[in-house]
Symmetry: C3
Subunit: 274 residues, 3 copies
């Protein structure tokens, strides 16, 4: 996994994405395990996924992976089922590896970059020490990521898994003169990201259009523009976000606060009648 | 401190554990100082220890150090006495170094991994520039950690310290048909970690037992299980945590919210009468 | 930019300072872009600048840069104007490079370390792929920082910029028997940092003096001391902060809470009458 780069050897990259928060020692313990076994570069994606929010973690993972170099090992620990018989798995798909629990959190990302091949992690193979019942991030997933970073063969990490738990963000639906989707993520600016692909949206609407937006009880007419600053501060705006999905935002404000949407809330975009 | 690892040279590791928060520039300044003086790998343990909470920092430090490789330099800046005559110290214990203020924050970790030898940091030796009265993380502790990471001799960092300030998490007590301890840490999931070693608890209780738990005015009967998901969501559970201590948790909820315990709150576990 | 350090090659350093928060995938995407193009060491300064707070970001940047080694590339994405015609710029000043939007956020830091030379980033040159309208951190600034880290010539990053947007923290004013300034930053301890240089303050006051402090409607007599612990817990104190500016603090408490100041609030220090 090491390559040449301007005369310097590139270290393998392991990313971490968890719901542990940065406040305690859980992330630090995982990094210690990794750095004790490999010289990988450890990159924090985030540790502030809302506790046990598998959908939010899956969305963030899928949104970041296209930007990482070949061979990156993405490690996700959002794991409400830790200690139960849920399988620890590793997936190879496209140019990436994924390590985490078999609860679907890895799947949208793995499907987005290739044909996923999954294996159940043979814990005894990658971890000689005792495994706790409550912290597989440290005792199973960090060692598995380090095993892959150190050049361990994917085929030997454990037996192939025929079926694994799937997860999706729901399908957008075409409705009369519009599109219906759900809010799949709210970022730290309060921008509401939907599961509606911009490419579909652009078949119905063009930049500058005024669009009828309904979120629960709230209905507003909102402009479809290129960027946040194309409307006055405090005003809502619909735009193509950096994820390639349609976003609902408020210039220098929070759409989440204005519309009150959470994961799964339906968002309806319709053409205005004339 | 550098070793071979698959043909690549491993860089020395410096960990940082502070109460600075991630919001300002304090952590960044420390990293700049370290990276300007050494090629160490800098690993954030956390910077979100509650302000000036020496006990919480000491607990987190002790919980993470076993997972780091030999030679790691653990740097802790939870330092309400900065600028007073409290000593800046470096400790060598087992395979690790520790750097921080002499207020006890380093001690539980240092004692857990060997026989601590402490030295007062000779600031003039490791820092040629002016030292502020308010930010020894940047002006004293980061330079001291970089000195050690660069291969500086521990014996030359300053004079040996005969006595340093101690800190402990209190002793659990055996009571009639039970064990009494205190809450030493609440993690970001709201799990309450006690100072009761699982090995002692297992002399009185076995997995599956129903246990009488008292926290302040609140008394509940709680199951002792292997992992969080062994009880229904919203229910409390007693288990052996990943720190090797007995934890009080709520499946997909927060024990801290349910029981309201803080650092030092007494937690009493007793056998049920028949 | 690579130098020798104890036989090991030092990697170039890219710092990141944004208002993205750590909770989503934006920071991770930027790191992926950088690590896919260069072997730079990526250092987080902070991602918790209050959303779109250009002044706070500018202050933090200026406070950390003196501590980084020569050649460090400081990348700042606090960019409410993303997608508008505001220019993406790179600045060389003293021993550092700066990359970010032309909204003034880079300027106080760049001026503090040398004579800034600014260039508009030629996006087509450093980024072959499509550029989004909403996330130039990932699509413009990360590639530009990676270009410089990889040894790309500053002169070829784009055309020289004759004038760029300035930003300053206001000037302190001398008043009868005192100094008037503003609060330019509140750190995570609630310490209020002013734009008054300690060197000027020391012409009027000496350590141990009791000083009349006015913040809005609140007026208190506060001691000027060396460090936080020189007054009893809960008491306010004036001191020279680690930034070289005069700070208003509360020992083991929060001055921001006591005095209620925000960015721009006037703070007046006067001699007591006898």
């Amino acid at each position: 996994m090491a390559g040449e780069n301007g005369g310097r050897v590139r270290r393998p990259i392991i990313t971490l994405l968890t719901d542990f928060g940065f406040a305690g020692g859980y992330v630090g313990s995982m990094k210690g395990v990794i750095l004790g076994r490999t010289d990988a570069e450890v990159v924090d994606i985030t540790h502030d996924v809302p506790p046990q929010s598998i959908h939010a973690g899956a969305f963030i993972l899928r949104s970041v992976i296209p930007f990482f170099p070949e061979g990156t090992i993405h490690t996700v620990v959002i794991d409400p089922g830790v200690g139960t018989p849920r399988k620890p798995i590793a997936i190879r798909s496209g140019k990436f590896f994924f390590v985490g629990p078999d609860n679907g959190v890895l799947v949208p990302a793995a499907k987005s970059c290739g044909r996923p091949e999954a294996r159940e992690i043979n814990v005894g193979k990658i971890q000689k020490e005792a495994v706790s019942n409550t912290f597989h991030g440290r005792d199973v997933f960090a060692p598995a990521a380090a095993y892959l970073a150190g050049g361990g063969a994917f085929e030997k990490i454990g037996p192939a898994v025929r079926s694994y738990n799937d997860l999706n963000f729901g399908e957008m639906r075409k409705v009369t003169m519009g599109l219906s989707g759900i809010c799949v993520y709210s970022d730290s600016f309060g921008n509401m990201i939907t599961n509606i692909q911009a490419s579909e949206f652009l078949k119905l609407f063009k930049t500058g259009d005024r669009v009828s937006v309904s979120v629960g009880e709230i209905r507003q007419v909102v402009e479809f523009r290129k960027t946040y600053s194309d409307v006055h501060p405090g005003n809502p705006v619909v735009l193509e976000g950096s994820h390639g999905n349609i976003e609902l935002a408020v210039a220098r404000g929070s759409a989440q606060q204005l519309f009150g949407a959470q994961f799964g809330t339906e968002v309806l975009f319709k053409k205005l009648k004339f």
